[in-house]
Symmetry: C3
Subunit: 139 residues, 3 copies
Amino acid sequence: MISYRKELWFNTKTRRNYINITGDVQEAVEKSRIREGLCLVNAMHITAGVYINDDELGLIKDYDDFLERLAPHEPVSGYRHNLTGEDNADAHLKRQIMGREVVVAVTDGRLDLGAWEQIFYAEFDGRRRKRALIKIIGE
Amino acid sequence: MISYRKELWFNTKTRRNYINITGDVQEAVEKSRIREGLCLVNAMHITAGVYINDDELGLIKDYDDFLERLAPHEPVSGYRHNLTGEDNADAHLKRQIMGREVVVAVTDGRLDLGAWEQIFYAEFDGRRRKRALIKIIGE
Amino acid sequence: MISYRKELWFNTKTRRNYINITGDVQEAVEKSRIREGLCLVNAMHITAGVYINDDELGLIKDYDDFLERLAPHEPVSGYRHNLTGEDNADAHLKRQIMGREVVVAVTDGRLDLGAWEQIFYAEFDGRRRKRALIKIIGE
């Protein structure tokens, strides 16, 4: 069995952002030299997530509206968590809906994705350095 | 380490549908001859998902109502993604709530599931050929 | 390849409860003697979940309010599933939002978690014995 680990770092200019990391993950699979296995990609922070869906700008805006409707940022005082001095309770909820992680099959040395599947890092409380983890096991 | 890969194909008659695939996944585990490992099952499309819950018709209807309440299909014009000519933006959102994938332990050559756990393929934009991926690694 | 399996048992006094199990999972990783691999943690019941987020009491209450707003327990008659004699349809929906499982990387014999990541067992229909599964593979 081989294993491979890599961190991806982000520092988004806006509070919320959706970044396509499919190329970075594919590159990690190639560097790992793993031909058959499983690839985990997860946010290492609890106000960000990793998910798979379409790289289409309208859809990304639809997700953002949807999440803001379910767990609005304002009023900040509407969340108990923000009594700790934070203003990011909504980010914890939003990330929970989109998911912390994805697991993708590795087949023949490549990510085994459907035609339109793209891996995204979803930032809900950005404007500081944060990271995602890629861990691949297989052989 | 052994790995095994199999695709399941679907073509639902209705836009939305929930199909119990536990038997198909268990069959794949048996064919893989893997005794101990992990089994990934994921939709290969971004308007469908794979989830685990009860095979009870009332509950499936409750899920369907719940998803339609959170992300209604109509009005189609309510989503930016549909400006691309699609009418399935709601399906992308619904799948994100239910999840793209499940990972199930394989123990003693069988899916290591609780008594009521059943694996479902959830279709949110059907009436065409679509598929799910089973990937098992272990030994 | 090595594999390791352990069950954690719970019996919460309240219907809903959120229990930090990070220490139990780390202990399982140590017992497994696996240095590099993947660790799956999942609820074995369909009215409970496993998720990763902050161990902060205000946030946990925010999650609980959020879930109760999206899928309220009352009126029990508002769900078709409850026509079977159950009163826990809301618990099936709540768990689906929070997630059934997490997959965590194992690196250098430890859970490869970010600074604030904590693993929780989320109970939505407690007051009886229920369990979660830890399955680790690697070497």
